[in-house]
């Protein structure tokens, strides 16, 4: 029996008042939010792995399976996830509901890609994302955790310049900026202004975000937009264009200043971290991902994030510590992706790893005390 049902029952039998019921629910909710933060992040990371796996499988594009089988299977998965989301929401089970929602959003994007592939559709590159943004808008606004709105916001902000660039005046403006003023400083200043505008104005206009945690998620989204847009503009700068793992690489690189930016209050520090973001983007953009080799690159970033996690743990900043642990996880996924030779193998391994991770995470959080008690019996008090 859930807490809410229990409280309703007590209220019905005049054991507690309505005010007490609300106070208990609020207290339990805040406590659960604090204790489950790591849990949700880990689950989201596993969902991300599954999503990347699904997209890789679609990208592999096999001819052996008839088109209608692919479409029907995809549709059934979508219906199952939507039903799961609705059902778990009805039962107030937030974690499974949010997992279903995240997977549903990822699968909708995958399904758009699948239909485009089967019917050989081709449009402007951002139009598929625009379609996804429209389809998932109501879903994003019903989410109870920040991750789906954050990704949705990132995608939404990403497509605005691309959509505007369809129009003549924007095309002229962008070309003027990037061909007449091609120096890095000029580009950086332009982006800095754009970034600050989005950071300050958009949240206030659309969301009214005051809560630092929400701003934090939103800033990460902005950084993702920033990185994606920067990559998108590389052709204007005359460099070679490769959207592969470079994008993820830049994103992970930008997590560090973004995180710091979100938690620092002094205006001057904010500007400093903003500048850092731009420098990071510049350095990573103009350097090769394989300069140090896959393992060395991965080790460099993972150790960097683990170092940051350790530092924030010592400082008693648990959220930042957890965040950097997750960032190192994301970087591991990138390395994992780079190691795979084919899309099929990569897709299958990502999906199985994601599912296994979800099972392990659930098992750990469900049987944590039992496992620790068992470990204590095996190894004595030191295991505690």
């Amino acid at each position: 029996m859930s807490l809410k049902t229990k409280l309703d029952d007590w209220l019905k039998n005049n054991l507690i008042t309505e005010t007490q019921k609300t106070a208990i629910l609020d207290y339990e909710k805040s406590k659960a939010a604090k204790s489950n933060w790591m849990f949700y992040w880990l689950i989201m990371l596993a969902c991300l792995a599954i999503g990347i796996g699904v997209i890789s499988l679609i990208a592999y594009n096999w001819w052996g399976i008839p088109a209608w089988v692919k479409l029907v299977c995809g549709a059934l998965i979508l219906i199952a996830l939507a039903a799961g989301y609705a059902l778990f929401s009805q039962r107030e089970k937030t974690a499974p509901a949010e997992i279903c929602l995240s997977l549903l959003c990822i699968f909708i994007l995958g399904y758009i890609g699948l239909v485009a592939q089967i019917f050989n559709l081709h449009s402007a590159p951002h139009r598929g994302v625009l379609f996804w943004v429209i389809l998932t808008a109501p879903l994003a606004f019903t989410a109870r955790k920040a991750i789906v709105p954050f990704v949705w916001s990132a995608a939404f902000l990403c497509i605005i310049p691309f959509e505007l660039a369809q129009y003549k005046f924007m095309e002229t403006l962008l070309k003027t900026i990037f061909t007449d003023h091609p120096s890095f400083a000029g580009v950086a200043i332009w982006w800095f202004a754009f970034f600050v505008f989005l950071w300050r104005a958009v949240p206030k206009i659309f969301y009214g975000f005051d809560n630092i945690r929400r701003s934090f998620g939103f800033l990460l989204g902005l950084n993702a937009c920033f990185a994606a847009l920067f990559m998108g503009m590389v052709p204007f700068l005359g460099s070679s264009y490769s959207p592969d793992f470079m994008w993820l690489f830049i994103f992970t690189g930008l997590l560090w200043p973004a995180a710091a930016l979100a938690f620092v209050k002094k205006g001057t520090r904010r500007i400093w971290f903003c500048g850092c973001s731009l420098i990071w983007a510049g350095i990573i953009l103009y350097s090769s991902t394989n300069t140090l080799g896959v393992f060395a690159d991965m080790l460099y970033f993972v150790l960097f994030y683990l170092y940051a996690a350790l530092y924030f743990d010592l400082e008693g900043r648990k959220k930042l510590c957890n965040f950097f642990l997750i960032a190192s996880g994301v970087r591991l996924i990138v390395a994992y992706a780079q190691l795979s030779s084919g899309l099929l193998g990569f897709g299958v391994s990502m999906i199985t790893s994601g599912v296994a991770a979800i099972a392990l995470i659930f098992a750990w959080f469900r049987y944590k005390s039992t496992a620790l008690a068992f470990a204590a019996k095996l190894f004595g008090e030191a295991a505690k």
Binding site: I55, I58, A59, Y60, N61, W62, W63, L71, A75, L78, I79, A82, A83, Y85, A86, S89, Q90, L104, I108, L109, G110, Y111, I112, G113, L114, V115, A116, Q117, I118, F119, N120, L121, H122, S123, A124, G128, F131, I134, L135, T136, P138, L139, F141, T142, R144, P243, D244, G342, L343, L344
Partner: protein, 164 residues
């Protein structure tokens, strides 16, 4: 607290629009007339949808009666017009580039292929040694769908197996 019906609506909305669009594309891509065009190619990859062959379609334009970017190619007389002439039974809306007198219809310039065949098919297309063509289905309202690709008259799947 978000209303539970709102969540249900959000799910139904997303899936209903997605499936309606899929159904529309599926039906539309099977009703119309088929035409074959010669192609030459370059560039092969999309992060979301996978590997594909991108090519330049040779529409065989004979004459142009417009200098506008937005134009209409009538396939009956292979002439580019500013807009669809009432006498034209079959044609495509697209863009006309007067500097090289080329017509382009975005949407039929790629064909998705499995990763394992991507490299060799791309090589075959780039080499120019093979007679490459696409079969395009054109609907009454001017939408176009690529139905098949041929190398030397052989369907792309068989050709890919042949050069394995």
């Amino acid at each position: 607290m978000i209303n539970k019906n709102a969540k249900l609506f959000a799910c139904i909305f997303a899936l209903a629009v997605l499936f309606s669009w899929t159904g529309y594309v599926a039906v539309n891509s099977n009703t119309g007339e088929t035409v074959e065009f010669k192609i030459t190619g370059y560039d092969p990859r999309d992060l979301l949808s996978g590997h594909y062959l991108t090519y330049t379609v040779d529409f065989g334009v004979l004459e142009s009666r417009t200098e506008n970017r937005r134009a209409y190619l009538c396939l009956d007389d292979k002439t580019v017009y500013p807009q669809k002439p009432s006498s034209c039974a079959l044609g495509l809306a697209g863009e006309y580039y007067k500097w090289n007198k080329a017509f382009n219809h975005r949407g039929i310039d790629r064909f998705y292929i499995p990763e394992e065949y991507a490299q060799r098919l791309d090589k075959a297309l780039r080499s120019g040694k093979h007679d490459a063509k696409i079969k395009v289905l054109i609907t009454k309202n001017g939408a176009a769908y690529v139905k098949e690709m041929y190398f030397d008259g052989i369907a792309v799947r068989e050709f890919a197996e042949k050069i394995k």
